[in-house]
Structure formats: structure tokens, C-alpha cells
């Protein structure tokens, strides 16, 4: 596998690094302190490809806690709150858009 540092990474706008938690698959975000969080507000935000690559490389090395990290787009609200940047990430963040039958 090519190291994430060698992978081409183009970004158009702010991004974060996200993955699934090893134990239960929950959606997690990489923080600036090199931890993982389920709170998107605490995700480290990169605005350059180099910064995104560095975040991704560190996240990938942390394979005991996280599965398949990747770079995903984010958006900001008017008051600078972080939101997922596309539909897939919105659903990962908020859960299925349907009522679950067993609830």
C-alpha cells in the first residue's frame, strides 16, 4: 500500500480526518492533539493539502484505535461551527436518515 504521505491529495476547502472506531465502528474524528473524538466540533481542520496529509499519516499509523482513516470535507456555519461537508459525511455524523425499526 502506498503511504498516505505519498498519495496525491487535492483539497478544495477545509477538511478533517475521519475513521471508524476499531471496537464498535463508531464514526470518529482526528483531533489536533492526536486523539480521536466522536465530537465533530473537536476535529482538527486542515486547509492545506500538506496539513491534511500530515493529519492523515498520523491517523493511519494509529491503526489500533481507528479503521480506514480518510480525508473528508467540512463546512462552517455562520457562527463557525463545523459541519460535515457532504451527504455521506452528514449521514455518518447524524446516523441513518430513517427511523430505526427496533427503537
Amino acid at each position: 500500500m502506498t503511504s498516505p504521505l505519498q498519495q496525491k491529495l487535492k483539497i478544495n476547502g477545509p477538511v478533517m480526518v475521519t475513521a471508524n472506531r476499531l471496537g464498535d465502528g463508531a464514526v470518529i474524528y482526528r483531533t489536533a492533539a492526536g486523539e480521536w473524538t466522536t465530537e465533530i466540533a473537536a476535529a482538527a481542520i486542515a486547509t492545506t493539502a500538506d496539513h491534511a496529509k500530515t493529519l492523515l499519516a498520523a491517523a493511519t499509523a494509529d491503526y489500533v484505535r481507528a479503521v480506514d482513516p480518510y480525508v473528508a470535507p467540512v463546512e462552517f456555519t455562520a457562527d463557525r461551527r463545523v459541519l460535515p461537508g457532504n451527504l455521506r459525511e452528514k449521514i455518518r455524523f447524524a446516523g441513518p436518515t430513517i427511523a430505526l425499526p427496533g427503537a
Partner: protein, 552 residues
Amino acid sequence: MYLYDDFDKTLVDERVNEFRDQVKRRLSGELTEEEFKSLRLMNGVYLQLHAYMLRIAIPYGTLSSEQMRMLAHVARRYDRNYGHFTTRQNIQFNWIKLDELPDAMADLASVKMHAMQTSGNCIRNITTDQWAGVAPDEIEDARVWGEILRQWSTLHPEFSFLPRKFKIAITAASHDRAAVKVHDIGLRLHKNGAGEAGFEVMVGGGLGRTAFIGKTIRPFLPKRDLLSYVEAILRVYNQFGRRDNIYKARIKILVHEIGAEAFGREVEAEWEKIKDGALALDPKAIAEIASRFRYPDYERLADEPAELKAGLAADARFDTWFKNSVWRHKVPGYAIVTLSLKPEGGPPGDATAEQMDAIADLADRYSANEIRVGHEQNLVLPHVRQRDLPELWRALDSIGVATPNVNLVSDIISCPGLDYCALANTRSIPVAQELTRRFRDLDLARGLGRLHINISGCINACGHHHVGHIGILGVEKNGEEYFQLTIGGRADEKAEVGALLGPAVPYDDVVDTVEDIVAAYLELRERPDELFIDTVKRIGVEPFQERVYATR
């Protein structure tokens, strides 16, 4: 029911222990994800958007009530209280934790259930007619052949790393309920001119990125030769199938590229070498396996008993359900009952733990402890005494599985789509749910007759969109959800791939577009009993295109 033996039990138990150790090593960091991934996939464990998903095989769609209760237990204990029946006679749990998976698998193994070969490039769960063994139009119970193939294919060393996944389906009835023509190998058991039963062998069917209908390479294969012939097909595929390009790796591409005739010649040449070897089936071995399928001790009963007639006369809702969801049984006085997992506004194919438990109890009381799962994502009680139907219906109605919409417009096949699936372009469940609300008028639905809508959230086609009478495929356009519509597909003995109707429509328009297609059909059909699929066949796609896109 089929009685598994100790060999199966040991195999399944050993696999659970092995997996427990693998999970432990992954959690401790001894294994990387790259190393672990193929191991978990061999045990049916996928990682979806929000959690791990476990896919459990239901061989040839047959479940005992004990197994159904265990599925309810797994849903309750390890998941979020529900499970999803798929289009391949599997069930999926969507929220299982990795460290609890070995325990869930051990619980399943206690009732001889497992998740082997529900993933990966191997021979997957063998599927068949959910009415096998009880259908009046079958020549014999196709599950016997499903079981013979299951035993042969389980952990087959030569075929554990095929170029790509491999799916086999069998039917023994005149009406194909198992979609055999869209499988890598489709087998149709039928009788030749001399009255002997044998298989028509079809290869290279399949959906996904490139959809093909299977081609017949042998119109009649004696039963004794089933395993050697299928082995020969797999060998030719294993040798010539492409491993360099995942999109070209399925057998359908090979068959398409070299042609069915050339492919058939290769198979015959290979088969010549092995047909009289160890794989030739001896009638005693076949009889032994057949004897392990247990049928209830059917009572001698007459059709249309007084209890049924009285029930039909007394309750119009029961009458409606009876006409829609109950089918003739091989044995007089009995019936085959379909349980709709497509309630208005519900996710197609989902059942809660409470429903599973209740269905298991009803199977005990009314269906000789047996339940079937069909590829249309509904359940079946296969051995119901007709006199019990009024009582059974009340019980099914009270747990929400008696919507009389089987084979109607709201009996939608849908994949999980972007609400769960990591590969999805778009959602599919909410589209299905909205369609069931839009077509909630069951009188109207009955007036439309048989009409299958199939939805997939991406080109992988788990929702079989190509073979829906109306097919809906999710595609992404500039980050937005769009849907391509096809019409005229079908999955039965006259299988066809649907034709594209026109440009993709955005999420908000897809249900309206389907409504317009249905309106066009009502306008274009020759008679009230000309089915949608027959109208499309007669006049083609264009008249539909004109009407549906005129205002768009």
C-alpha cells in the same frame, strides 16, 4: 427442515473459536486492519458507515423457529433490536460491536447458523425458491440440490480465492421465484422428453455494473453430474476469469467476452476429464441427503374447509389478504403464506426482534416450526392448514406483517443504500418508504396488478434494480442524489434487463416520476389485466418516455 450432522457443527464451532482469536489479536494491535480485513470478511463481517455489519447465511432460505428465535436474540442482545433480510436469503445486523461478534457467532452456532461464505471471492450462500418443497408447480424439492452444492462448496480449497464472488441459484418450479437467470450459475431442474429430471445449466447472469441474463450452456444435465459439471465451470472460470480488473472479474464478463458457446466448450472439455470421478453423485448419497429434509406429517385434509369459508365471508380484510398473500400448497388442505415485510412507511425487509419472536411462535403453532426467506425480502410460512388461516391472519395482522401488498407496487425490493452502506451513492430506503406512502391505496395497487419496484443505492445492484419492472438506481451528480429509472426488467423465467427511461431525476422528483410511469401505464395498457411488464414489452419504452418526460 434439514437436519445438520456433527460434521457441520464441529466446522461451525471451530470457525467461531478461530475468529475469536483473530478478533482478540486485532483488538490488541497484533493484526493490522489490512491483515484482519480478509479474515473478518471471510466471516461475513463488513464495516459500514456507522458500525460493523454481520451477514448471516440462511441456506436455501429455510429457517427453523428455533433459529428465528436466535436471530431475535442476536438482534436484542448484540444489535439494535432488528435485522434486515436481504435479496440473497441472508440476514444482516447493522450495529454489532467487534468485541461482541465472537459471542454473537457462538450463539448462532448453537443453532447451526453461521456467516461463512457470505462475503469474499468464494461461492456464496446457495439460494433457491422460498416455496421449495411445497410449491404445486415444482417437480421436486430444489433444496436437496442446494444442500448438495452447499456441502461441496463449503470451504472448497480450490474455490476459496476465485477472481470474484460467485453466486448460484436453483429452481425446480415452472415459475422461477429464485431469479436463477441473474446468477453466475442458474440451475433449472426440469424433465426431458423421457420424463427424467435434470438441470438446465445457465452461466454468466448477473447484475452490478454490467448486467447480463444467464446463457444456457447445457439444456439438460443428468442429476448425477451436477457437482462435476459445476466444478468444471468453476475451474474454467478460475483459470480464465480476470483477476487484474475488479470490474471485469465476474464470470459474466468472461462468458460475454469469449461467448457462451466457446465457454461451454471449455466446460465440456474439462468435464470430460472429471465426470466419472469422485464427484459423480451416487443415487444413495442423493437419497441420504434428501432423507434429511423433514416434512411435517401432513393431515388428510380437504381444500377450502368450512373455517376458511366462514372467515372469508365474515371479514373483508381477511378476504383481501387471503387473495393476495396465500398460495396453493402441494398438499390439499394446506396453504403457503407470505408475510409482507413491506408495511407502509417501513424499511423493506426489516423485522424487529419482537416480530421475529412472534413469527417463530406462529411457525410453531401453524407451520411445523418452519419459516422461509425469499429474495423479495419477505418471509413465508410454508405449511399452514387452511382451516387455521383466519386465526393466523389475526396474529400476523397484530404484529404488522399482514399488509396485503405481496407482488404489488409497494412490495419494494430495496438495498440498504446510503443510510448504512459505505459503497452507496444515494439513499434507497427513504425512497422506498415514500413510495409505499404514495401508493398506500391498496385498491389502486390491486388495480395495477403485479408491479415490482427495485431500488439500489449504487451500481453494485444489491437491490436488483436492473430486473425491477421499474428499476431505480442511485447515482451522484455534483454531490447530489440523483436516480436513473429503468422499465421492463424482470427476474423470473422470462428474465430481462430493464431499459433506461431517460435522464436521471433528483431525489425530490423520484417518487413523482414513478407515479408518472404508473399513470402512463394506466393510459397505455390495452386491458385492465394487461400487466405493466407486458405493456412495456408490447409497446417499448418510448411511449413511457414521452409521457414521463413531457412535463420535466
